[in-house]
Structure formats: structure tokens, C-alpha cells
């Protein structure tokens, strides 16, 4: 299975993402954002970073890139699409996932490890986790406060589209790092093939990096193909 890692001007998690995908046994190639074809790829990954310096709004300008028409096609055709951090912001700005990511409530750029609870395990991205398992994953963002209007939020919850939620790691009370509604850290589209999440699984795939709780997400993608 071959993954495209889209590089926008200002992407900076592209190499980490390639490291994680490769470690899981997947092939991965970088694709510049001006490309108009993702032919030959099976999945597409929008990595974290600061595309276009977060100008206008985080992810807003990258969402208009030429390659995004192909990302939209992948989404439509049910192929796997993952957006992490800035990639999640790009997916919401492109309308491929509902809602938006607003400035953190405390206005800080927050870079730390958080608890992330797995809410469903019937997706390729989460099949190797246990339901309710709390992962230790790093976050690093200034605009991660998930927002959606009440109807959208109700639909997301009703359809089980919330995949990851911030949760206490050690029983702490203030575990929500950014003020996200319903503690939302990651969601999927209705079909379940487009995942957006603020925490960085690609930064948690080796003990040297401080943890491996992100690795099963990538390994799950391999299992998907083998099935």
C-alpha cells in the first residue's frame, strides 16, 4: 500500500509521518501541493506544520491548493485520508470534515503530552486499539479548539463520528488542553474513511521519542490492506 504525504509550504511533520508509515511497513512518498494527480496512491496523509504560515486561518490557504481536488476525490471514493494537526485544520477548511479548529481558549501554543481516549475501534485507523483505551500522545498547536454548531455536534455524536477524545492521563481534572467542545480530539467523516485529529500519532512511534502509543494507528492501516 502506497501513501502520499502532501507537502504544503510550511509543512513540518512530513518526515516524521514518513518515518511512522515506513516503520509500519507501508510505502510513502512526498507529493507537492501543486500536483493535480494522486494516481498510484492508496491513501493520502496531510501532515502537521504551519502551511502558509497559518496566514488568514490555519489551513485555510492550503485547503485551496491544486492537490486538494484529488484529496476530495479520495474522500469521496472511500479511500483512507488522514489529517493530523495542521492536516486536520486543512481537512475542515476544505469541507472534507465538519466543524472548525479555533484558537485555543488560553491563547497559548500548547506543546505537551495529553491523554487521548479511543472511542471506536471499527475503523482501520483504530482497529488495533481497545475501546476506551487512553493513549499518551503529544499535541503541539495554537488552534485546536474543535468547534461545530449544536446540530452538527449532535449529529457527530449520534453517528459515532468522534474517534478520539481528550481524557485524563493521571486523574487530572483539567485534561482538555484547548477548550474543544465535548473534549473532541479527532473525528471521522460519515463513511469513516477520512480521519482528522489534533494529537500527533507520528511523534509517538518509538520509545526513543517518548512513547509508542501512536504506532498501532499506522499498523492498523497495514492490516486493512491484508484483509
Amino acid at each position: 500500500m502506497k501513501w502520499a504525504i502532501v507537502r504544503f509550504p510550511g509543512s513540518n511533520c512530513d518526515e516524521d509521518t514518513r518515518f511512522a508509515l515506513t516503520k509500519a511497513g507501508l510505502r510513502a512518498e512526498y507529493v507537492w501541493h501543486t500536483e493535480t494527480s494522486l494516481k498510484g496512491f492508496d491513501g493520502v496523509f496531510l501532515p502537521g506544520g504551519f502551511s502558509y504560515g497559518d496566514y488568514l486561518r490555519a489551513g485555510a490557504l492550503a485547503a485551496k491548493s491544486p492537490v486538494m481536488a484529488e484529496v476530495a476525490r479520495f474522500a469521496r471514493e472511500g479511500r483512507p485520508v488522514i489529517g493530523v494537526c495542521n492536516g486536520f485544520q486543512v481537512l475542515t477548511e476544505a469541507g472534507l470534515l465538519p466543524g472548525a479548529l479555533l484558537a485555543n481558549l488560553n491563547l497559548h501554543f500548547t506543546c505537551k503530552e495529553v491523554g487521548v481516549r479511543v472511542e471506536r475501534t471499527d475503523l482501520p485507523f483504530t482497529r488495533l486499539y481497545q475501546k476506551g483505551q487512553v493513549l499518551r500522545l503529544p499535541i503541539a498547536h495554537a488552534e485546536g479548539r474543535y468547534y461545530a454548531d449544536p446540530e452538527t455536534l449532535e449529529r457527530l455524536e449520534g453517528e459515532g463520528q468522534v474517534v478520539f477524545r481528550y481524557a485524563p492521563l493521571r486523574g487530572e481534572g483539567d485534561y482538555n488542553p484547548n477548550g474543544s467542545l465535548n473534549d473532541i480530539a479527532g473525528i471521522v467523516n460519515e463513511k469513516g474513511n477520512v480521519l482528522g485529529m489534533m494529537p500527533h500519532p507520528e511523534r509517538a512511534v518509538d520509545e526513543v521519542l517518548g512513547g509508542t502509543d501512536g504506532l498501532p494507528l499506522f499498523l492498523g492501516l497495514v492490516e486493512e490492506v491484508a484483509r
Binding site: L56, R57, A60, K64, T92, E93, P98, G99, A100, L102, A103, N104, L105, N106, L107, Y147, A148, D149, G179
Partner: protein, 84 residues
């Protein structure tokens, strides 16, 4: 073709919490200004060509629609003027 300058105002929708505005509000209050609220938005000044004022307005609105995120923002065409 005549040149126009459009002033587009992009603001957070009412009811969406604006922590940036709150921070500015806190500073203003700290300096003794009895403000009741602050909202921070963006102003874009776009220069472009159009056949006439009517077409310029259409173009300006289309660009505003493209640049504002309807999930949490609204845009207003604040001003439109022909440049000499």
C-alpha cells in the same frame, strides 16, 4: 479596464467565543477603559479589475465567500471604490 479596491471585513460569528478579543478586552480594562466587549476580526483590502461597479461588487463578494469560513465567520463588503 477600471481598477477597484474592495474592503472585506471578516468577523467571527456572534456567539463564537473569541479569546483574542477577550485578551484585548482584559488589557483595555487594565488600562482603565471601561469596555464592555472586544471582538477581533480581519480586514482585507483587495485591488482588482472589473468591467464596472456592478461586476466589481459581484467579484468582491465571491472573493469574500471564498476567504471566510462559514462555519465560524461572516464577511461583509465594507467598502468598494474605483481607483483612479
Amino acid at each position: 479596464m477600471p481598477r477597484y479596491q474592495a474592503t472585506l471585513l471578516i468577523e467571527l460569528k456572534e456567539g463564537i467565543l473569541d479569546p483574542q478579543g477577550r485578551a484585548v478586552e482584559g488589557v483595555l480594562k487594565g488600562l482603565g477603559h471601561p469596555v464592555e466587549g472586544v471582538r477581533v476580526g480581519k480586514v482585507l483590502e483587495v485591488v482588482f479589475q472589473a468591467e464596472n461597479l456592478l461586476q466589481a461588487e459581484e467579484k468582491a463578494k465571491a472573493m469574500g465567500k471564498l476567504l471566510a469560513n462559514p462555519v465560524m465567520e461572516v464577511f461583509t463588503l465594507e467598502a468598494l471604490k474605483e481607483l483612479s
